[in-house]
């Protein structure tokens, strides 16, 4: 529990300047020399300044909550503030930052908590998941901090039950860059939202600003686009717009056939490959058949990996098709399918050395190559004249 005291003088000063405080269920009005005080649980009027201080005593949580969001967080209307409120299940605020009820453009969140319940939960720690990240918001138990101050802890969802002593602990947001650079096999992760974030680390005691910065390194721009989507202001650039904008070596990608764009999204833009949910379509009013996925973060336009891959596919799709003749047994044809599947699903490392029943087993693949490849190392196939 927070043990520091709230600053009553600062509150009086605010009332002097603004004549009212209206926030998260707390309402204090200055009416000449007296004050009116209202919460969902209480209602008092004609309070002298000294009485006000006493009247606030039982509802300290409302007051320190107001102080935290006003003084420590600030940033009315920003994605940062909206995200930090989401972290502790506070109700979304209207754009103006006042206490007006959220309008229709702000989606009402699942199980939001009013101040008393939220404070109870914050004393225990409120957990939220953001992609592969788990965030805990909690009250600071430190007399040197202002009352109601929050801190945030961050770790991999897989480490939710791991003892902190078994994790590498960090407090500098910039360290998230290193942690997100390589996957568990030591391979470079050029796509930050690939579902391959390594576990085994924790950030503890971050301020709200530091939390947002840290997440910005793990999952750049996800908070900002999430916020825009919540406000009904997400700007989506569909495939054709993005493709037609390209210049230089990517100038060609708008020639990728419609059908191939489907295959491309099926290959790249699905939950198994990316935590983002594809919101872009082929073009406005021309939806792709492939599902955009269930990711938490909206994907508002084709990313640079998709653009780079599209260039390759545009070149490949410009080739003519031929009919080939080659000799394969039925099992060998099946084996080709198994090989493609294993590579496409990233399964090759899992196939056991001696599992010769799997068509993508290394020895099976080497046997097929030994039998069916010619001296140049190519599949022996002839183009059939139509």
């Amino acid at each position: 529990m927070a043990t520091a005291e709230f600053d009553f003088d600062a509150l009086l000063e605010t009332l002097e300047d603004e004549s009212s405080i209206v926030f998260d269920g707390l309402r204090i009005e200055r009416e000449g020399e007296t004050y009116a005080l209202e919460t969902p649980e209480s209602d008092q009027t004609d309070l002298e300044a000294a009485d006000l201080e006493a009247a606030l005593e039982p509802i300290t949580d409302y007051v320190t909550n107001w102080r935290y969001w006003r003084a420590s967080v600030g940033g009315d209307g920003t994605a940062r503030r909206a995200f930090l409120r989401w972290c502790e299940r506070a109700p979304p605020e209207a754009e103006s930052g006042d206490d007006a009820p959220a309008d229709d453009t702000v989606s009402t969140d699942d199980d939001v908590l009013a101040v008393p319940a939220r404070y109870d939960a914050l004393r225990e720690g409120i957990d939220r998941e953001w992609g592969q990240l788990c965030i805990t918001a909690r009250l600071v138990d430190d007399v040197d901090e202002p009352a109601g101050e929050r801190v945030y802890d961050l770790w991999h969802v897989d480490d939710a039950d791991t003892d902190l002593a078994d994790l590498e602990v960090y407090d500098d947001p910039c360290d998230a860059r290193e942690l997100s650079t390589y996957d568990g096999d030591g391979r470079y992760r050029p796509l930050k939202t690939a579902p391959t974030l390594v576990s085994g680390w924790a950030f503890t005691g971050l301020s709200g600003a530091e939390l947002v910065e840290t997440i910005g390194f793990f999952y750049p721009a996800t908070i900002e686009n999430w916020h825009r989507e919540r406000q009904g202001e997400l700007d989506v650039d569909h495939w054709l717009e993005t493709a037609e904008r390209q210049t230089g070596i990517y100038d060609v990608i708008d020639e990728l056939p419609r059908e191939a764009v489907e295959w491309m999204t099926e290959a790249c833009c699905v939950d198994s490959q990316c935590l983002r949910r594809r919101e872009w379509q082929y073009d406005e009013g021309n939806e792709l058949a492939v599902d955009g996925g269930d990711g938490q973060f909206p994907c508002r336009e084709p990313c640079s990996l998709v653009v780079a891959a599209a260039r390759k596919w545009t070149v490949l799709e410009s080739e003519e098709e031929h009919t080939y003749e080659l000799e394969l047994t039925t099992s060998e044809l099946n084996q080709l399918e198994e090989l493609i599947d294993a590579v496409a699903d990233g399964r090759t490392d899992e196939i056991r050395e001696a599992d010769v029943y799997d068509g993508a087993n290394r020895y099976r693949a080497r046997y097929l190559r030994a039998k069916r490849f010619d001296d140049e190392g190519s599949l022996e196939a002839r183009t059939r004249d139509d």
Binding site: T181, Y188, L191, I223, E224
Partner: protein
Amino acid sequence: MQALVIAAHGSHLNPDASDPTYAHADTVRETGAFDEVREAFWKEEPHFREVIRTLESDEVFVVPLFISEGYFTEQVIPRELRLEDWDPDQWDSDGTDASQATLEADDVEKTIHYCGPVGTHDAMTDVIVQRAESVTDDPDVGEGVGLAVVGHGTERNENSAKAVEYHADRIRQQDRFDEVEALFMDEEPEVDDVTDYFETDDIVVVPLFIADGYHTQEDIPEDMGLTDDYRLGWSVPAEVDGHRIWYAGAVGTEGLMADVVLERAADAGADIGGALESVRATMASDGSRGSDLEPSTGAGD
């Protein structure tokens, strides 16, 4: 509030390509001159396309971490930042003197001060000289020494060579090194023949590249004859045709680059307070390097 965005190329394949960007951004962060400092990339995230919306500041200074004016600085970055009213004429440059243009970003209500690339700023000349000092570990390096500034060079963009020649000229005018030459990978005069261009026994070779990668760590060392196989590394200095070649990779990894980034932003009107002084002091006290990046001397060094 004011923000700094360092816009760089990055890579889908090489995780080290973004290291200089992060290092210089961190140096600037430490000065506290900007309320927000953000890295942005063409091939990594945050992408140019998304970066401005991650900022709360109204005034944003964008400094391209590129060597020359050209395709990226004139087309790709402004387009991807949605600077609708951008026109390269706003820089009024003949290839090496872009300073800044003030524009509005279309998708956010912010003023963007779009700066020229770090590579053509006058302060870059000092970084090249600083690089020569750090490579030779000699703060007075110059007398009896030749300096080769090496660029990619390409027939597709004349500005690429202009930036290299510009700094070579400026260093020549300082009369510090016995000889100064601008050499290239893909055009004459070529870096392959580096020893043909110098009388001096000692030649410091500084590649005007942002990040270490294929060119600075594989091509150039092999082309100059520092090593037969880049994987074996090379020594610094290395003996080639009776000359001692001092080579240590991309100048963009030099800590003093953060100074150029700050200069660019300050030229565009950013209030950077005492940031330049603090960066220079840090560089001086750190033995000329303020970042975590060490001049690379190859795998075998």
